[in-house]
Symmetry: C2
Subunit: 129 residues, 2 copies
Amino acid sequence: MTGVSADTLRYYEKAGLMDGVSRNVGGHRRFSSADLNGLRFVLKLRMTGMPIRDVRRYVELVRQGDATTDQRRSILQGHGDRIRQQMSELARCLEIVDVKLEMYDLGLSPMDEHDCTKKLASLLEGTLK
Amino acid sequence: MTGVSADTLRYYEKAGLMDGVSRNVGGHRRFSSADLNGLRFVLKLRMTGMPIRDVRRYVELVRQGDATTDQRRSILQGHGDRIRQQMSELARCLEIVDVKLEMYDLGLSPMDEHDCTKKLASLLEGTLK
DNA sequence: CCTTGACTTGGAGCGCACTCCAAGTTTGTA
DNA sequence: TACAAACTTGGAGTGCGCTCCAAGTCAAGG
């Protein structure tokens, strides 16, 4: 349902990313819809680059209840900012890839693969890590 | 100049991500501005999630000269598409984080942390991997 | 009931991208 | 010239996030 492998599901549970997945009489996991949506949210955090230990921290705070809402809010705020940063970084990288493609489409195949246009050179210099 | 560690620089050269970095008489590396811009471009590819083996493949094609421009173009086109995909995925994840934050700001601290609003639930369901 | 396949656990193994180390060489300053 | 700091190499080690394995248990169709 989420595209995650059974092994990863087990790993996430062991790692504390999923709280209290219940079992049937035989000991097999039964995922509730809350488990499922919890997992889906965890996957959003993972997809956007939050490391597993930080997701665990968040999930622990959820378990601890209302007293931790402030901490959780600030975690999500910080993470939201990081996502916005990633997006703008991605946009800058995409611009450079697109300028390269433009060069290829113009049939430019310069001696110097990278210094060939001022446009590209300045883009490359402009966005230092 | 690029924020990359000396070790990573050496690793990238060994891995074939940087072509022909020259040495001085003593054998120490002397990075030309072409090396530098090449590295900067490599870093853009890496930042946007291109694995090292694919970057190497691209760099090899560059070394092979004009005969490979078509292949290089299609690599970059594919990669550009992947970046655009990443960006829209990030946007969807950000939306979910922001909805969660809204909930926190409204003082909602529901029994069920994830199913609490239809808005969030539908967002979570809508964006399966 | 019996078989087949899916599940359970703890723990080992893997691929990636670095990151560090040791032993030796080169460089730049006093 | 002496010496510390920065470089060279090959190779080992690390951290992350899974992924696989073995040995055993459970579930469902014939």
